[in-house]
Structures are given as structure tokens and as C-alpha cells.
């Protein structure tokens, strides 16, 4: 049964790791799988220590779903919807943190640049995505 905080219409698809019997080629397509339970564990254990890390981890979750599932798929639509809602909330949180501590601005910029470099390197290697 689902834990109470995941008993909702959208989040059920992102709660647990994807099982191989449900999507046999999932782990061939998605190289960095994640899920809501894993993210929560990382938060409580202290593996995720900044809002930016949390932001990136959540984005990874939604982009994985959007990459693997076609745009007409229900999970893809859920991922887009949740991602938009999450972006709204997390931007408010980041703005609040930046207002309290302006020195974080440089950290955010550095991290965004690092993210862009990672994306560029991934494009050079070539897409690992195989659309079904």
C-alpha cells in the first residue's frame, strides 16, 4: 500500500523505483534514475544539503519521466504538471534564501554553469534515449 504522503493522483508514478517488469529497457535509457522516496531519504540523511541540490534532484526525477515516456503518455503529463508546480514553489524558496543571504547568488551561478557544461558534454557523447 502507498504511504499516506504519496497517496495522490500524480505522485504514485514517481514514488518508487521503476520495476524492470514494467519497463524492461528503462535502465538502458535512463542512466540516473531516481524517485520521491530516494529524494526524501537523501534529504533526511543529509546527502542533499542545499536547495540547489534539491532542485536538481527533483528536476532529474521529472525529466527522466518526460524523456522515457512520450508526450501523450499519462506519466509524461503528470511529470510536466508536477514540474511546473515544483518550479513555482522552489523559486519562491530560492528567492527567499537569496534575499536572506545575497552571497548565495555566486554559488547559484556557478552551479548553473556546471549544469550547462554537463549538458553540453552529454550532447557531445550523443543521446542515450531510445524513444519507443
Amino acid at each position: 500500500m502507498c504511504p499516506t504522503h504519496f497517496v495522490i493522483r500524480h505522485a504514485w508514478a514517481f514514488r518508487d523505483p521503476v520495476k524492470k517488469e514494467n519497463a524492461p529497457n528503462y535502465y538502458e535509457v535512463i542512466k540516473r534514475p531516481t524517485n520521491l522516496t530516494a529524494i526524501k531519504k537523501k534529504l533526511t540523511e543529509g546527502t542533499i544539503q542545499t536547495t540547489l541540490e534539491f532542485h536538481r534532484e527533483m528536476l532529474l526525477l521529472f525529466t527522466n519521466a518526460m524523456i522515457f515516456n512520450p508526450h501523450y503518455h499519462e506519466v509524461h503529463v503528470m511529470a510536466v504538471d508536477m514540474c511546473n508546480y515544483f518550479e513555482e514553489l522552489v523559486h519562491n524558496l530560492e528567492d527567499q534564501e537569496l534575499a536572506e543571504n545575497p552571497s548565495l547568488q555566486s554559488l547559484v551561478a556557478t552551479s548553473i554553469l556546471a549544469g550547462l557544461r554537463e549538458e553540453e558534454e552529454a550532447e557531445e557523447v550523443g543521446p542515450s534515449l531510445v524513444l519507443l
Binding site: F6, R15, L36, F54, F86, Q96
Partner: protein
Amino acid sequence: MKQIKKTPGFSEKDKDGADAMDVDSATALKPLLPEVKTEHSEEEDDDDRPLVRPIFKVERQESSEVLSFDGEKAESDRPERKPIGRPRKDKTKEELPKEPTRKTARVRSRGGSVDMDDHEEEPDSPGLDASLSPSKKAEKDKKAWLKNVMSVFNNVSSHK
């Protein structure tokens, strides 16, 4: 023959015609007569000395009430006299610096009412941040951050 000494104010024969008292009989009678001081004698009026009225006070221990002999009220029962001249400033009340108490500081920081029974330090009060050690402050910040992030996480995970 006995010698009669004339005393001032006495003539040999009094105004009434009585014989003047001789010296020996006068000295013999003197210790027997009690000396009575009147409150207001004519001799004192003649002098320039100020009039002093003796006041005899008897204190009763059991009632702690001061009674005066002459029927006046005792000092404790009298109304307070106003001091003559310019009144002195009370430095202890007016000029001492006012330090804000914990309760007033809390009211200022929160802008709310005071809970009189609350004697514990509140962890979220901003006035206490300066007194915290850096490690405790970092831990407190971390908890506040985690609370915010978890609130976002729960909102997203319960999004419909």
C-alpha cells in the same frame, strides 16, 4: 542678738505687716520645699530665651503607640509635613537607566502580548541569535532549511 539679714525683695516688714523671715529658718525650710517649675513663669518672660515647652512622651511597647504627655498627637500619628524649599529629585527612580526586561524585549520582537507563564527561552526568537555559538547557529539554520525544503517536497508530492 540675732542678726537679721536683709534679702532682696523682702523688707523688714512685709507688705502685710508680717515679720521678715530670718536667714536660719529660711535655709532650714529650703530642702523641704519642692522646686516646682512652672511652664510659663514670669522670670522666663523677662529673659530673651526662647520658650521651650517640655514634652514628656511615654512609649507603650505592646501597642507601639506613642503617646505624648501634653495631649498632642505623637509624631507617628501626625500628617507628614511638607519639606521647606525646593523638592529634591529622586535620582533612584528617574535617572537610573532603564534596561529592557525579557518580557518587554519579547513583546518588542514579536509585537504581541506577553505570556506571563512562559519562562523558557524560545529557540526562534531573533534576539538570541547573537548569543548562540556558530555550530548551534548552523544547526539551527540547517533545521530551518530542511523544514522549508520538506514543506516544498510534501506540497509537490501531494499535488493533484
